[in-house]
């Protein structure tokens, strides 16, 4: 039976692409930040260059003030609401390799997925905290695999296990699937 592990990253409420740059701002023509419920306290995740930026002001439907902006045109971004979560289920049998790494100051768990096409897929589950030491990252991946093991040996119905937290006060902040 194929088991699923359902991660609970923060809820994604908007996505888009940066269209022009300005210091400490995110500018995305065509966005509708106010209409989509973006608020101060939400965070922007730069997908193209993995990093989180707190939103300090919603200027307009297309402009946000952000703390420590570091965007360039064509960067893809996602906006996360920290007070809410959403499902990010992954079929365990499809996972071929599990790694944990630091990229641009963020720690992420990388799941290489087996699919029957010429394009490889990878599920990235990003943690907000940067874990600087190897032992910290090893603790994360061991707990991650312990959750997977628990899912596989238990009789969960419908064979899915929900997990939302990791050691060292880490949470699943953002999950997405990318091609590699």
């Amino acid at each position: 039976m194929a088991g699923y592990i359902d991660f609970k990253p923060k809820k994604q409420i908007a996505t888009g692409t940066v269209t022009s740059t300005s210091s400490s701002q995110l500018i995305a023509a065509g966005s509708a930040f106010i209409s989509q419920g973006v608020e101060v306290g939400d965070v922007v995740f730069n997908i193209s260059s993995p990093e989180f930026f707190p939103i300090t002001n919603v200027v307009s439907e297309t402009v946000l003030d952000v703390d420590g902006s570091s965007f360039t045109s064509s960067n893809a971004f996602s906006i996360l609401k920290l007070s809410e979560t959403e499902s990010f289920p992954v079929q365990i049998d499809s996972i071929t390799r599990v790694q944990v790494s630091n990229i641009q100051g963020e720690t992420m768990v990388s799941l290489t997925l087996r699919i029957d096409t010429a394009v490889n897929a990878r599920a990235l589950i990003v943690l907000k905290n940067s874990l600087a030491t190897v032992s910290e990252r090893n603790a994360i991946i061991d707990q991650f695999m312990a959750d997977i093991n628990e899912t596989l040996i238990s009789s969960y119905n419908p064979s899915a296990r929900v997990v939302s937290s990791l050691p060292l006060s880490n949470e699943y902040m953002f999950g997405h699937v990318t091609t590699v």
Binding site: G3, I92, D93, I95, T96, R97, V98, Q99, V100, T112, L113, R114, I115, D116, A118, N120, A121, V134, R137, N138, I141, D142, M145, A146, I148, N149, L152, I153, V180
Partner: protein
């Protein structure tokens, strides 16, 4: 049943799925001993576990460990063989 095997590369832990491997292929190329893990007929996504040096023991050990992880006598879904950096056999790199 889905099984995973734990490995250590330069001190960092990784896990890979040992239950749906299609084939493994050993090679000794340009001073590197390696075993390639293949999951589908088009070889993607797979990866190569490498041990620097051509006299390495890792390929035979890895294949044996994959078999052991899938043994019905091994009830846990996560298998942890003794495969550590600085000892033989070891993994120096994954590509």
């Amino acid at each position: 049943m889905t099984k995973f095997m734990k490995i250590e590369v330069n001190g960092s832990y990784e896990y890979f799925n040992t239950s749906n491997i299609l084939a493994t292929e050993k090679a000794y190329i340009n001073g590197v001993t390696q075993v390639e893990i293949m999951y589908s007929s088009i070889k993607n996504p797979g990866f190569k576990l490498q041990e620097f040096g051509t006299s390495g023991k890792s390929p035979d050990y890895i294949v044996e460990a994959i078999m052991a992880s899938n043994s019905t006598s091994h009830t846990s879904n996560v298998y942890i063989p003794e495969l550590k950096q600085g000892s033989q056999p070891r993994i120096d790199n994954i590509v």
